[in-house]
Symmetry: C2
DNA sequence: GATGAAAATGAAATCGATTTCATTTTATGG
DNA sequence: CCATAAAATGAAATCGATTTCATTTTCATC
């Protein structure tokens, strides 16, 4: 049978209030009393009941993270960032794997309404802005990763899609490419849109004409990238480089090139985004963009826990971190002719 | 401001008890009352307070999973298995990433003692048997994945290391290999030991002499596999195949072969274990063993939730699932000469 | 040793649901 | 239409901690 706080109180001959104070490091307890209480705690092997604590204190010291898919390294790294930070700040983390299922995602939101968590972090959510704004208006503590929203109470942590996307294209231009195709993710996702924006920006700055027929959609999947590349080839327009909005699609392009006998990087340069582990192992290795995923989780967590503890909020609500281009074999040569 | 159950009661003109019954689908409430209550719930946008529920009912309908490292696909898949199963059975899942840190792992165990979760699943834990046995003796509900323990109250779900390991070696023997090296993981881990056992069993059954000098340790890491392979080569003993206790080490071997100019599979066959995604992408693609990770999580979860609900326990305490050999390029040829 | 402020402790209310037991209402059959 | 069983509801206790407010103890100072 489990022991309760009152058992500890009885055994050490003090009141429950004092035991509670000891356990919560209140400053106003004698050293002697503290020792007596701790001895009883030891002897009874007492563990406080979390539910009772939560109920009375109205805090759980827990934050939730909802990720789209725990299997994807991008999200796993974000989780690490959140968790390590929360851990050192004395918070627990509940990880919710939405498993690419919007319904589950909505379900998990209920954690906040239940007060199971003090704050909730959403990484790439399928939930509409309205829902989030409504929650924030109610005073719930939410934060977003990789997505921005117009609400003063929702901190957002993102990478600068436009910047790195433009870096990628500049790198290809530097290597002499003039006809660069872009394979987009889901067209209605902010990441896709902003990466396209960076692509166009770089072209414009370097005075290279933008050609819409070099843009295709690939749905962020390997299969999608594969198909998109084939569609590009079928158009018969010459191009010597492909920038894919993520590594999965870049892998698809790579596969298609292998099948079509197009040499990488001699005839076709490829750059992806995400720095998946596979990109280093595949031959030729794949150039990509490394996003500071850990840091995304870290920054947002610090911000949210600060809010929970009413710390004065310096800094910005929108936190933007820089990503870096990783050049590997797939884009290491000058463009042909 | 949040509403409480009693607010719903007042608004719908019934007692709190009745509201509680409605919310918990008790059979003994009139349809009419139910409707009135649900209407009030809607209007007030009422959400039950989880802490209060937990405190009173002494159950959280939550199970915890502690994994060694959420970044490793093996564990991520197990999580999916646990979570999908738990979800359909009406349980929530708290995922705890020990982040390869035994101290964190111990901390998370506290979840059980706190009654934050009703049951806890440990996937490849660094915790000693004694700790777990002590918990089980106290009546805590624990289950193990990929590890077995001698205690009637701890269900364990594992793959048959000996079986698949012996399958791997038989496959290599079938291809004419007679000198097969084995690169072990951490030597004191059960997985390593049992895989070695399967290796020896197959050799014995096929009357191929066991040669201890063909065994090396690689600590389950790519680097470790790489070094182990080089040590094997330096010994100067001829061998034509390597069986590595996991894919990471197999990748290391593959890398070493590339550097040393040893052709795979013509001069050296390689087989790993885990079916990492990378094994399909690398050239040559890597033969491996596919463990039913999802199923491991699934089976154990069903068992544990059954226990929580005092369902009659048929089946075995130790559940063993079969893994399957996946033959790819790296072991697709007959042995040389 | 008296005095008052500060420090330490305790009594009791409280958090928000569930659940037992008692009571009222409804339905059934003679 | 009444008796009785069954169904529906309510009152109040309860889960196990925290916290407010009151009280006691300690300690420094005169």
């Amino acid at each position: 049978m489990d022991h309760k706080l009152i058992d500890v109180a009885k055994r050490s001959g003090v009141s429950p209030a004092t035991v509670s104070r000891v356990l919560n490091n209140s400053s106003l307890v004698t050293k002697k009393t503290t020792e007596r209480v701790m001895k009883a705690v030891e002897e009874l092997n007492y563990y406080p009941n979390a539910a009772a604590k939560h109920l009375r204190s109205q805090r759980t010291r827990t934050i939730g993270v909802i990720v789209q898919d725990i299997n994807v390294a991008y999200f796993a790294e974000i989780i690490k960032g959140v968790q390590n930070t929360a851990y050192t700040l004395g918070y627990k983390v509940i990880i919710c794997d939405a498993d690419n299922n919007p319904e589950k995602e909505r379900d998990y939101l209920g954690l906040l309404m239940n007060r199971t968590v003090d704050a909730l972090i959403l990484a790439s959510s399928s939930l509409g802005d309205e829902v989030l704004i409504e929650l924030a208006d109610k005073g719930q503590c939410i934060g977003l990763i990789g997505r921005r929203i117009a609400h003063d109470n929702i901190p957002c942590c993102l990478t600068d899609n436009v910047q790195f996307s433009s870096d990628v294209v500049n790198h290809l231009l530097d290597n002499g490419h003039r006809h660069i195709a872009y394979i987009n993710g889901y067209p209605d996702v902010m990441d896709s849109y902003e990466r396209l924006e960076g692509y166009m920006k770089a072209l414009k700055e370097r005075m290279v004409p933008f050609r819409p027929e070099l843009i295709e959609n690939g749905n962020f999947s390997e299969e999608g990238g594969y198909e998109a590349f084939k569609r590009l080839i079928l158009k018969g327009i010459p191009f010597t480089a492909v920038y894919a909005a993520n590594d999965e699609m870049a892998l698809g392009v790579s596969k298609a090139c292998r099948e079509l006998g197009i040499a990488i990087p001699h005839k076709m340069a490829i750059v992806g985004v995400d720095n998946n582990r596979i990109t280093q192992y595949i031959i030729p290795s794949l150039s990509t963009v490394n996003q500071p995923k850990f840091q995304l989780g870290e920054l947002l967590t610090i911000k949210l826990i600060g809010k929970l503890n009413d710390q004065p909020d310096d800094g910005e609500r929108i936190m933007i971190v820089q990503s870096e281009l990783v050049v590997r074999e797939s884009s290491s040569r000058q463009a042909p002719d």
